[in-house]
Amino acid sequence: MRKYFKLHRIFIAQDLKKLMEYKVDFLMGAIGFVLVQAVKILTLGIIFASIPALAYKVNGQVVDSWTFNEVLFIYGFSLIPKGIDHLLFDNLWGMGYWVVAKGDFDKYLTRPVNSWFYVLTEKFCVDAFGDLFVGIVLVVYSVLSMPADIAANINWFRLIPVAFVIPFAVMIYTSVKTATAAISFWTKRSGHITHMCYMTNEFASYPAKIYNNVVKTIITYILPFALTAYYPAIYLLRGESVWSLPVTIGVSAVLFFISQLVWKLGEKAYESAGS
């Protein structure tokens, strides 16, 4: 275990050196990710300018509603587990797009470390600071500018269980990427499958109640991105959905196990490109 932590530190140090060398690349990437988010937030702002609060209605009756600040908070929160996964484990994307197809996976097999761990940690993706930055700014801003009656609902002791759950939320992202990247061991390329599953996280940035039951089931249990964003965020804000915290831990553990299984099986099926 110590060996692995040490390796990870070395990889990160290498990428930070690269970062110092290519400052413009880093800046452009980070600005890009910030701008993508800025456009989405601007869109939300324009939408909310014409309505008092986002309401969820059943048969014309308002069942639940969220103010602009709460939606911003949920949105900002969703960027944090996503950003952490992006920062530390971005290298998995390469597997499905080119690593297996080109036969470059050979390299990982010849090293005396777990191949999955090696692929996972080889790259430290500094672009993710853009996502993390926006996420933290949004969370802080939305809390500070919140109307007093909503802010009064926040109990900051809830931050402790939420902070405890965040690594598991990150694991949901990483496991989905791992399992879908491992499909490439059989099909050579699977980056687009990873992309398809990963994009489901777009649903997580908004209150899960507004979706229909099919979508809700998918984003809670199958590709459970709602557990990484809406549920912990609403728990922090209002103390609702306490059940989601143990579910997050359980579901992420199951997903992690499945992804490891797929990876192990895939590795056995791997054939090099023979060049």
Binding site: V24, M28, V39, T43, I51, T200, P207
Partner: protein
Amino acid sequence: MSKLRKYTPFTRAGIMESVTYRANFLFFLLGEIMKCFVMFFVWKAVFDSSSGETLFGFSYDNMVVYLFISFLSGYITYSDGSYAIGKEILDGSVVMRMIKPIDFDMCFLFQELGNKIISFSLIFLPITAGVEIYRFVINGRLMLDIPMLLLFLVSMVLAYGINFYFNLSYGFLAFFLKNLWGTDIIKGAVVDFLSGATIPLAFMGGFGYVLQFLPFASLSYTPVMIYMGMYGAKKIIFYLGLQVFWLVIFALISKLVLKLAMKRLVVHGG
């Protein structure tokens, strides 16, 4: 015509490339269309929360049509010349194109046309059929307007042309910036917003009014509004004219930038 014939192999290559990777394309598409479904639900909640039936002249059904048709037109008019050219410039393989007796931009155009033929045939029918069925169920009658559909196609072709030359010009920035990934993301975000791909320009008040005349609106907003029947005859003629205007402007700009860039090009080895 015979001048163009030498480019047909590029189109054939583009078609073959797209056919080979069509499964990838479909998975990618399913991932991208997820955003439309997210907004489908978000807009439903927004319209539920609003006191009126319409927002800025859009009903909820209009909004759904807008979402999916702007996704469709965005996809079909998408051009990634900026990335492809930038990459060739940075790794120097661009010289292989320059020593051939063909136009630089034309071979990109024809190759991409090949890709477009396949992506068009894969997604145009499912999305428009889906939208029309939705409109039929909501309104109880067929809403499809054939002349509008044809004008929409014309407008999309123009939008693609503008996008192609805009991207070509942008791709040459790689000479100066030496960075592709970041600049491409920046471009995408800004263009998406200014072209009305994320939210109709009508929602943006006076700023949106000004945007209608900028080239970005010609990329996405104009074809979608034509499809939805939001524009009358006069407006259609005006905005199609505007699209032609921007197409000519960007074609000229890209020629100019190409000339400037070629003077500065230094390729080491090859």
